[in-house]
Symmetry: C3
Subunit: 191 residues, 3 copies
């Protein structure tokens, strides 16, 4: 019986994904963080390639959020950082401001699409100020606070995320195609 | 015959709503202000709870617009301020810039949705630069200049406005449900 | 035989349109500029009135893009400037930042609509950071890099462009109605 030739691939780098729960009450232990685990479940469900979660639970303090996002990008070398919570209109909601402050580039299309899909569910989706941006080689995306809304938003934007990470020279994320198809445009001749 | 027991409710605070017409010509008396009255008619039509209009008619001067918005928020204690006019691309159109300058938070979802509904009517809706934001406890929304477009935009965003005002710790606005249903999401466990 | 009376119209000013290809590789001659010619073809196809292209081919350098946009607006007196390239999330993509830096007013509706129509084709449309704005009397619009996407975006926004240029006191652009209908709202009584 022939032993099939197995071509050994070089050990691929595990993609590090920062998952930041922004919540005064959850960070004080007044209730359970539901958003962070929902995001971990989601990535576990859709990603086929190796990845490592880097979870954080912090209060709605702009300086703390900024430092956390910067550390996950610069020190922890995450290719992707997602936040949950703190995107509403209330006084303590400052996640979008912190995100904009640490990013060199903003990607308004993420917020537009996430509000659009949430608006199909609830009219108050227009109150969400979610945005996304790039810091160095890291894509940062704000997600809503509630697990159901998190999944709806991730389903909408994730098809574009692996290609975005490749444009930022990060690792190649593979998805389970039956669950999520990552889209990669053919390189244009004159891109 | 029994006299029914009337439970006396505490006098609820009348919600103060600033209505700012921004127009060089209307403020000079060169023509009638149609936008401001159209907004008053609209709120009279859809609001069931007590409210008080605080109308202003000012020219397209950025400093004047900024001072007016700040005074309506800080001194007049309006929970909601709506503007009409000055959101186009012309030199004198500076209402969005003035709004952004006085707000601590911007709510891009309002402008996105208003442009979307206006775009179903006219392709030039993309020229509108309407935005919305929060100053302290006050929600500020830019509306278009024409009465018909004002009503279309308010119909689109108003379902989210009472809940937004509650998140800003303002009064509870009740709507006439046959005319407009205000949406209030159930408080999430981990909001 | 009667000679028909020809009413001589005053020579209309040719509308100057700046067409800026932003690409490191095309500006080094490493490949052909496809975006700039696609834009010229498009305007040749849809415009019926006289116009003059002012084409430029420059690298993805923010300072160079800013100077080029400013010169096309201020010195070349273009009523319209369109860019192609440099709107993605990669490090060298800085066309939106340069555009925002030279504009006095931003028109977010252009980017929103262009992303919306592109999103019907590819999920990675949310990675585009295209915007538009006004510098003095000049409308500046960012377009994507690929000829097919350029045409889709121009088809979406062009119906609003001639009216916008008139609001900026520029020349009247006439379109071929079988190809593109320019929309001009009736002046509202209280604009």
């Amino acid at each position: 019986m022939d032993v099939p030739l197995v071509v050994q691939e070089p050990a691929s780098v595990s993609a590090r994904i920062g998952i930041v729960t922004v919540s005064d009450r959850a960070s004080r232990g007044e209730y359970e963080d539901l958003g962070g685990p929902a995001i971990q479940d989601y990535f576990r469900d859709v990603l086929a390639s190796d990845w490592t979660p880097v979870p954080c639970l912090i209060p709605d303090e702009r300086v703390v959020i900024e430092r956390t996002l910067a550390a996950l990008a610069d020190d922890e070398r995450c290719c992707l950082v997602v936040t949950t919570g703190g995107t509403g209109p209330a006084l303590r909601d400052v996640t979008p401001e912190a995100t904009e402050a640490v990013c060199q580039k903003l990607l308004p299309g993420f917020g537009e699409l996430m509000r659009k899909v949430s608006l199909e569910k609830v009219p108050t989706a227009i109150l969400s100020r979610q945005t996304a941006g790039v810091r160095g080689g890291t894509l940062i995306i704000n997600l809503p606070g509630q697990p159901k809304a998190i999944r709806e938003c991730l389903d909408a934007v994730m098809p574009a995320v692996p290609y975005c990470i490749e444009l930022l020279e990060g690792p190649r994320l593979e998805t389970r195609p039956e669950r999520l198809v990552a889209f990669r445009p053919k390189k244009p001749a004159g891109g």
